[in-house]
């Protein structure tokens, strides 16, 4: 079963994503901040990571910087899932090394399609 790590500081948001993805047959692991996201990523080496950008302690940009320097995560699809949806935010994310960018509020169909595409 494909393993997906979701990092988000809001529990309802984690639960929502977990529900959406579990229905589609993925194994979902949660992290409630950037630090935990790093730990879980190193421990479980998920197939895909959905990272919120604004999180306490360690933000999404810090997490991806550290992950991308680790050879085990050089090509892992890591997607920004964020409520930062102003002009330039997508470009900023892609430049920082994110594989994809999905803005909140997320639409179920769009999220499922993107995840399926990245895990092909």
């Amino acid at each position: 079963m494909r393993k997906i790590l979701i990092a988000d500081d809001r529990a309802p948001s984690r639960e929502l994503i977990r529900e959406i993805l579990e229905i589609s047959g993925y194994e979902v692991v949660e992290a409630c901040d950037g630090g935990e996201a790093l730990e879980k990523a190193r421990e479980l080496t998920p197939d895909l990571i959905l990272l919120d950008i604004e999180m306490p302690t360690l933000g999404g940009f810090d997490v991806i910087r550290q992950l991308r320097t680790d050879p085990r995560f050089a090509v892992t699809p890591i997607v920004a899932l964020t409520a930062s949806a102003m002009q330039g935010d997508r470009e900023k994310a892609l430049q920082a090394g994110f594989t994809g960018y999905i803005s909140k509020p997320v639409r179920l169909a769009a999220l499922r399609a993107e995840v399926a595409r990245l895990l092909q």
């Binding site: 809001r10 948001s13 959406i20 949806a85 997508r90 909140k104």
Partner: protein, 446 residues
């Protein structure tokens, strides 16, 4: 005084008169007394005038001259002084005649003056004195006055004399000084204005940055809860956790639709600030016009019904247009909600949509309060509301038509109004069927 001496003086003075009239601007009004060529015939040669007449003319000219004129002999004693000298220096002529010219030279310069005078006698020509220097003369009361002096030698049987024409330039100096002060003042004022402008620019930049930051954080904070509201509503609607009864399904649909509407509102507020900043972008898609119109009519049907306003629409079937569907709906909504808002009970609203020559024409016609002719242009300005007509209809901010006009123009279209107070209003929008606007990269994720 000998005849010859007098005639030579006359020549000198006539020359001087020329010089003075050429320099009218600087000379005082006394210049007129020298006599213009029209009023007083100037002697062509001195010999044409009899000695006594010539003498008299000389006296007249001398006394009328606005500048001081003195004649100094080779010993440095004053031999002649005119009235202007008396005025300028405060001495009577008796106090000056046969007295050393040093009397008129400031104490500090007397030594040098002596040397200069000696030098002049060795090379006596007509020239300005101390050219390039700021000359000072001393009055009887000890005050110094700035002067310009020109020297010309006069030949006598017994040797040279020098005629000095002395011009008091205090007034000119004062004017120069005043001018310099004004220039300095202007320079200072300009510098201050520039500083203020720069400070203002910095302030505007700061305000713009704060505004962007505010909008970004507002957008983020509103999207975060909407994310779970919309997401869970969609999840519930999928009924994967078990079937919902029809009522529950409807409730979930309401939540879903309204939360999507809220998302649209957030995007619209952000658009508004983009419109102001001139960054509005449109995302054209092909759609059937009557569908979009139907959706908008559905939202205004209820408020129209509440005021017993009849709502009629005629739309060509199968009319397809390439435009930003959300924006076009916004345009329709703004016009229709205005029509409902500004039409009293039992009125009527008619919407007509038709295509012709690559364009679609949409008109929204109401039987409402109307708009006075002089207001018809300004209602399209942001925050402009017609005072008299909006009295009693207080809701709204006056942004609707401003946004509508920008949206229509961004689509390459036009909007106009025909109206008269008490006789209703008709807004007409013309849009190209194919969108000519440049398709740009998404400004904002939706």
């Amino acid at each position: 005084m000998t005849y010859r001496g007098v005639s030579q003086k006359l020549t000198t003075l006539v020359d001087y008169a020329h010089m003075a009239s050429a320099e009218k601007g600087a000379a005082s009004s006394g210049t007129d007394n020298l006599g213009s060529e029209e009023t007083r015939p100037r002697p062509a040669t001195t010999s044409a005038i009899s000695p006594s007449l010539s003498e008299q003319r000389f006296e007249d000219l001398l006394e009328a001259a606005p500048d001081g004129i003195i004649e100094v002999d080779q010993d440095g004693n004053i031999q002649l002084a005119n009235a202007a000298v008396e005025r300028m220096f405060g001495y009577t002529r008796a106090e000056l005649l046969n007295r050393p010219v040093d009397l008129l030279v400031p104490q500090a310069s007397r030594g040098m003056h002596h040397t200069h005078r000696a030098a002049y006698w060795s090379h006596p020509v007509t020239r300005p004195m101390g050219s390039g220097l700021e000359l000072l003369a001393e009055r009887k009361d000890g005050k110094s006055i700035p002067v310009e002096i020109s020297l010309s030698p006069t030949h006598y049987k017994d040797g040279f004399r020098v005629t000095a024409i002395i011009r008091d330039i205090s007034a000119r100096r004062a004017a120069d000084q005043k001018l310099r002060e004004i220039q300095e003042l202007h320079t200072r004022q300009l510098a201050t204005a520039n500083e203020q402008l720069e400070a203002r620019n910095r302030e505007v930049e700061r305000a713009n940055r704060l505004k962007s930051e505010f909008l970004a954080s507002m957008s983020h904070e509103l999207r975060t809860p909407l994310h779970t509201i919309i997401g869970f509503a969609e999840l519930l609607g999928e009924q994967l956790e078990g079937p919902l009864n029809s009522k529950q399904q409807r409730f979930v649909e309401h939540i879903h639709r309204d939360s999507l509407h809220l998302l649209e509102l957030i995007n619209d507020i952000l658009d508004l600030s983009k419109i102001e900043a001139g960054h509005l972008e449109i995302h054209p898609t092909a759609f059937e016009f009557s569908m979009a119109l139907g959706e908008v009519l559905a939202t205004v049907r209820h408020p129209a019904l509440a005021k017993s306003i009849s709502l009629e629409s005629v739309c060509e079937n199968g009319l397809n247009i390439e435009a930003d569907r959300v924006r076009i709906k916004e345009v329709l909504y703004n016009l229709l909600s205005n029509a409902v808002k500004f039409t009293p009970e039992h009125g009527a609203i008619r919407v007509k949509v038709g295509a012709a020559a690559g364009h679609v024409e949409i008109s929204v016609d109401d039987s409402g309060i109307g708009i006075p002719a002089e207001e018809q242009a300004s209602i399209f300005d942001a925050f402009h509301q017609v005072g008299a007509t909006t009295r009693g209809v207080r809701e709204g901010t006056g942004l609707g038509l401003a946004i509508t006009k920008r949206l229509v123009e961004q689509h390459g279209g036009k909007i106009s109004v025909e109206s008269a107070p008490g006789r209703g209003s008709k807004f007409t929008v013309t849009l190209p069927l194919r969108n000519a606007a440049v398709k740009v990269k998404d400004f904002e994720e939706r």
